[in-house]
């Protein structure tokens, strides 16, 4: 029996939080703005009214302290979900996340556990600038003991949020802000993905696109247009960072022989390196040509949209790189034309009028 509904990524998260609050009396949902009228871009709407202000609450501006407090509550049997509207703020709490949350179960030899979910939002646009739109996922993904996921579809967002809350480990749940309005199918009866594995978004034989978070959307856009021109790209959504599902990529490149990785982070901090390095050590012979990585430049993003708009690679850059790799440059002009649209590059969609 299926129970499929179409909803946005943001709604899927709200739905998962709602269902989890109903299911786990020990769950609490806390964060700056959680119960305010804008309720984390709508993702916590109505939850305080439904579950009470003891379980759904705001908090002081004290990221490290509140993370530690949530860890302590988890040790006492609670399941806190802590929200940061921007991953940049989570930097203040990295001490508690790395020194305590990630290590506690190991360090105390399995006698205690920290079932904590930390929701963080990454993103771009409308001049959020150098301190308010970083892409720090690799900084967390390298920490043994943290689970780090960045689901791309509404369906995964729902399922991963439920799985993360059920999980007895600290989970960093990373949402790209621009995914929030994107609709998808949510199947509440789907069984748990257990926070592992890449997801196959599109089949193709010519090249593998392994993409992270919002870059999977861009990769899909590129693949759709490329297909009209006879180039079939396979798109893998690398939705779990730890562990990284290298095997799925290996299987895919065994078929396609070509790999382009697309990450939404600066090159120096790209999880793509981890993926490529793993492939290089064990499966480089499966590739017909050297793989490529598309990522952001190695500097902060400036605020001015005049330049920031050129900071972020997207479907066009992916398609261009694919055509280069396949030596199909003559297709470029037509493909680029089809990929163009008139939406300003610093807006997630037409409904947005700023500021974030």
């Amino acid at each position: 029996m299926h129970d499929v509904a179409v909803m946005s990524y943001g709604e899927a998260i709200r739905e998962a939080l709602d269902d989890a609050l109903a299911k786990y009396p020990e769950m609490i949902l806390i964060g700056e703005g959680v119960p305010d009228p804008k309720n984390i871009f709508g993702t916590t709407q109505g939850l305080r009214e439904k579950y009470g202000s003891e379980r759904v609450l705001d908090m002081p501006l004290a990221e490290n302290g509140m993370t530690g407090i949530c860890i302590g509550a988890a040790l006492a049997g609670m399941r806190p979900v802590l929200v940061h509207q921007r991953i940049d703020f989570a930097l203040l709490s990295i001490d508690q996340l790395v020194n305590n949350a990630a290590k506690w179960h190991y360090m105390f030899n399995g006698q205690q556990q920290v079932s904590l979910v930390v929701r963080v939002i990454i993103g771009r646009g409308w001049g959020q600038g150098p301190q308010h739109s970083q892409s720090l996922q690799a900084m967390f993904a390298q920490v043994p003991g943290l689970r780090v996921v960045m689901p791309t579809t509404a369906g995964d967002a729902y399922q991963f949020m439920l799985d993360a809350i059920a999980d007895n480990n600290p989970v960093l749940f990373i949402e790209h802000r621009w995914l929030h309005p994107i609709k998808g199918e949510v199947d509440k009866t789907r069984s748990s993905a257990e926070l592992v594995g890449a997801s196959l978004l599109r089949r193709g034989n010519d090249i593998t696109l392994a993409a992270f978070s919002h870059m999977s959307i861009e990769a899909l856009k590129a693949a759709t247009v490329l297909a009209r021109h006879g180039v079939e790209a396979e798109v893998l959504d690398m939705r779990c960072l730890t562990p990284l599902d290298v095997d799925s990529v290996v299987r895919s490149v065994a078929k396609t022989g070509r790999l382009l990785v697309a990450d939404c982070a600066p090159e120096m901090a790209s999880m793509g390196h981890q993926l490529l390095s793993a492939l290089f050590q064990s499966h480089s012979q499966r590739l017909r040509q050297a793989p490529r990585l598309i990522a952001y430049p190695n500097h902060p993003v400036p605020t001015s949209h005049f330049v920031a708009n050129h900071y972020y690679p997207g479907a066009e850059e992916i398609a261009a790189k694919v055509l280069d790799m396949l030596d199909r440059q003559p297709l470029k002009e037509a493909v680029m034309l089809e990929l163009q649209n008139d939406l300003a590059k610093d807006l997630p969609d037409r409904s947005f009028t700023g500021p974030f």
Binding site: P60, N64, Q128, P302, T303, S304, P355
Partner: protein, 372 residues
């Protein structure tokens, strides 16, 4: 120590100028040309003005996300602020920062940044360096703004960059606030921050170090009782912020942040103490932000404020109160105040005109200045 002259008219004018600038920004924001998060300080002007009235350009100011008022009150260049909001190369930050990253080194406004409490320890570090320079501990140390100032964004370059039509920046750029003269006294550093910021641990770390080293530093807490839309009562217990600073060993006072005369008087004492080597000072000033937390609109309809709260604060408008004082005391009269408005309309028109003629930073420039 030389004493700054109390001049309510000047203070009023500075507040009015900030108000009109913020309103003008709000009015134009919907044009979608200022594409960056923008936190207006309407309703809170008295604090920036009352404090900065006591500062020379040798004194430094650090600020936060809600920094326009601090920047302007400290004498920050207006056209360059506006150009910054538009994302132009002539912006005070070359377009790289937008509303949340302001700087005007020539005016002694070092920086505002939006990570809450991020600039608090920086201000203390700056004050510490000033103290070391004065004591001779760090004699011979290099000058303040050692970074290469790129030509296109150097303050002196404004007029030429903007071309012939724009007014000369020397005329419209600087706030016309008179500078108090205090030649031999120590420079002070001022850090402006909010009630929410006080919750961050680094604030406590900074209070401790500042007191330990008796830094020439003034903490100014703008307690507007909200952090975004979250009222104090959900974030802090019922006790006074300034008393925590006092317990740390600072000289701490509180007062009405909507009365510019009161802010002025409190700041005068605090800054005199800091200059005199009596160590860091702390002011908690109560006020209220009128517009939404971030963006150009009013948002009272969202219902996060208590009913009637905003209205009551509007009755206590810092400008209204100062204006009443000026008229009641005969220090000014309606016609003079109207002239102020006219002058500001003109200044603003010129400033916007200049700013909107800015040039787009080149895409090639994007990678520059990662390393000094």
């Amino acid at each position: 120590m030389a004493q700054a002259t109390y001049d309510l008219k000047q203070l009023y004018y500075q507040m009015l100028r900030i108000r009109r600038i913020e309103e003008a920004i709000a009015a134009r924001y919907a044009e979608q040309q200022m594409r960056c998060p923008t936190h207006l300080c309407i309703g809170e002007e008295a604090i920036a003005v009352g404090v900065c009235a006591h500062l020379t350009t040798n004194d430094k100011v650090f600020s936060n996300h809600r920094g326009h008022g601090h920047y302007l009150a400290k004498g920050g260049n207006l056209p360059r602020l506006l150009a910054e909001l538009y994302g132009f190369a002539e912006g005070c930050c070359g377009g790289r920062g937008g509303s949340m990253h302001l700087t005007d080194l020539a005016a002694g406004f070092i920086a505002s940044t939006p990570i809450v409490a991020g600039t608090v320890p920086l201000a203390a570090g700056y004050a510490w360096a000033e103290q070391m320079k004065k004591s001779g501990a760090a004699q011979g140390c290099a000058s303040v703004a050692r970074g290469r100032m790129p030509e296109a964004t150097a303050a002196q370059g404004c007029a030429s960059v903007a071309g012939g039509t724009a007014p000369r920046m020397e005329e419209v750029g600087r706030s016309r606030k008179p500078e108090p003269r205090m030649p031999e006294a120590a420079n002070v550093v001022v850090i402006f921050f909010g009630d929410g910021c006080f919750e961050e641990g680094v604030m406590h770390e900074t209070l401790n170090f500042a007191t330990l080293k008796k830094l020439p530093l003034l903490f100014v807490c703008e307690n507007n009782q909200y952090s975004v839309m979250t009222p104090l009562v959900e974030r802090q217990p019922n006790r006074d912020i300034y008393k925590i600073a006092a317990a740390h060993g600072l000289q701490a006072m509180n007062g009405d942040g909507n009365r510019v005369d009161q802010v002025y008087a409190l700041a005068q004492a605090a800054i005199a103490n800091a200059r005199a080597g009596l160590g860091p000072q702390f002011l908690e000033l109560y006020t209220h932000r009128w517009p939404e937390h971030c963006g150009p609109n009013e948002d009272d309809k969202l219902g996060y404020r208590r009913p009637g709260e905003l209205a009551a604060w509007k009755l206590r408008c810092p400008l209204l109160q100062a204006r009443q004082g000026l008229l009641d005391s005969g220090l000014s009269h309606e016609a003079e105040l109207a002239d102020m408005e006219t002058a500001l309309v003109e200044e603003l028109e010129q400033a916007f005109q200049w700013a909107q003629q800015g040039s787009r930073p080149s895409i090639d420039s994007m990678g520059r200045h990662l390393y000094a």
